[in-house]
């Protein structure tokens, strides 16, 4: 017995290390960020308040970058306004001809960003409005430029938004010029890749990308970004497409929460199918 105790004491570091690694791996297999418990929601409120206290501190880099982005946007918008006026008239005429319904306008809630968390390449922001203002988990955040992210947790007066610039976010998107659909995923900084577009399709740099009708999380036709690179990949069936987000995530200060939650029935159906597939997999 004494020998056994001595053995344990002698190698206590190794035993402790193995035990802690096993505990960590068990915890990892148990939960993910989407399953935020009540305790974490309290945490968000607390963190929101804390971040609110420090939100007055200016970030010179961000201000400079925002000014540059705004000047570019201003230039771009002024040329587009003229085009838009013409397009609007033409659009009205065509709508009447085709008897299309007016697209639905979603109500929006303006919010101030009180905190940004960029920890180990995970990007979240906290805004100063929550449940008390009608914000719910699953609503979409956007700016005038385009899509920002999704509300993943809310407390009374704060909401936590997961930016689209996160590794586990996938967006069903549509290239406007030729109505091609693909899946967008983050590649780092403001860049994204568009997957599942065959080599034979006509995609060019400069093509505009919006959210697709097929998305089960985001409302359709919200601007996402501009294609910066589109190359035929000879080693695969699909093109290599890189897109830059319209939103400059470094300089965000205000945003809107779109009062839109994807169809719950559709969500439920997808979850049921996913569950069935998982059961089938585990049976095999």
């Amino acid at each position: 017995m004494q020998y056994f105790i001595n053995f344990i004491v002698k190698f206590k570091e190794y035993f402790t290390f193995v035990a802690l690694v096993i505990i960590s791996l068990s915890l990892i297999s148990m939960g993910s960020v989407s399953k935020i418990g009540g305790l974490r929601t309290i945490m968000i409120g607390t963190m929101g308040q804390l971040q609110g206290v420090f939100s007055w501190i200016p970030n010179p880099g961000a201000v400079q970058s925002e000014n540059r982005a705004l000047r570019e946007l201003n230039l771009q918008l002024s040329t587009e306004v003229t085009k838009m006026r013409q397009s609007l008239l033409e659009n009205e005429r065509l709508k009447k001809l085709l008897e299309l319904k007016e697209s639905t306008e979603y109500e929006m809630i303006a919010c101030e960003i009180v905190g940004k968390s960029s920890v180990e390449m995970r990007n979240y922001i906290t805004v100063n409005k929550g449940e008390n203002f009608g914000i719910k988990k699953g609503m979409v955040a956007r700016t005038d430029a385009g899509i920002v992210g999704l509300v993943i947790a809310v407390s009374g007066n704060y909401s936590l938004i997961e930016l689209i610039a996160n590794r586990n976010v996938k967006i069903s998107a549509n290239i406007i010029r030729n109505n091609i659909d693909g899946i967008i995923s983050w590649q780092g900084e403001d860049y994204f890749v568009i997957n599942n577009i065959p080599n034979s399709f006509d995609v060019k740099p400069g093509d505009e990308v919006v959210t697709s009708n097929y998305s089960n999380k985001y409302p359709p036709d919200i601007p996402v970004g501009l294609i910066t690179k589109a190359e035929v990949d000879k080693s695969s069936m699909f093109m290599k497409i890189v897109m830059r987000s319209y939103v400059n995530f470094q300089t965000l200060e205000q945003l809107f929460i779109v009062k839109y939650i994807a169809n719950e029935e559709r969500q439920r159906l997808l979850e049921e199918i996913e569950m069935k597939l998982q059961i089938k997999k585990s049976e095999k």
């Binding site: 206590k12 570091e13 402790t16 290390f17 802690l20 690694v21 505990i23 960590s24 791996l25 068990s26 915890l27 990892i28 297999s29 148990m30 939960g31 993910s32 960020v33 935020i36 974490r40 945490m43 963190m47 804390l50 971040q51 206290v53 420090f54 501190i57 970030n59 905190g115 940004k116 968390s117 960029s118 920890v119 180990e120 390449m121 995970r122 990007n123 979240y124 947790a153 936590l160 610039a165 590794r167 586990n168 995923s185 983050w186 590649q187 780092g188 900084e189 890749v193 997957n195 995530f249 470094q250």
Partner: protein
Amino acid sequence: MKLMFDPIKSKNVTQNYIIYGAVAIILSLLQISLLNLIEVKGITPDLLLILVVWITLAEGQFTGLFFGFGIGLLFDFITLDVIGTNALTKTIAAFFVGYFYKEGYVSERLGSFFFVLITLVTAVIHNLIYYIFYIRLSDLNYLDFFIRYGLATSAYTGVFAIIAMLLNIPRKQINR
């Protein structure tokens, strides 16, 4: 008979542990509330990893393992990461750093570039493991992402380790 329990030493150890715990909480709050001000292209230094390296070099591998695990767990909780990810990576980091602990040379090691070097190497190991979990649900290329972000984060953490090293220099001089 050899004295197994030294009350004075035990009191100092407990005091140190309480200080480490308090510093861990303060650094966690700093990490998520103020560090975006010094963010460079989405990259921030890992203050808690520096603390884990510090504690392990000051207290040894055994204590470092517990603090690595505890600090990682705290960090997972407040950063909404998958619970256990940072606990695992910081435990492994503490285990690695533990091999460089040498009793009687604590101040020398904490107050020299040895500390910065160890932090840098540990940060690379920490990020190598962390990004396996980070990438697993995505289409991102592990190697490409690690080279772009993992190494940059490690270097930034190393820069901040210099500040921690400088904090220890007066203590080193007083001890002499």
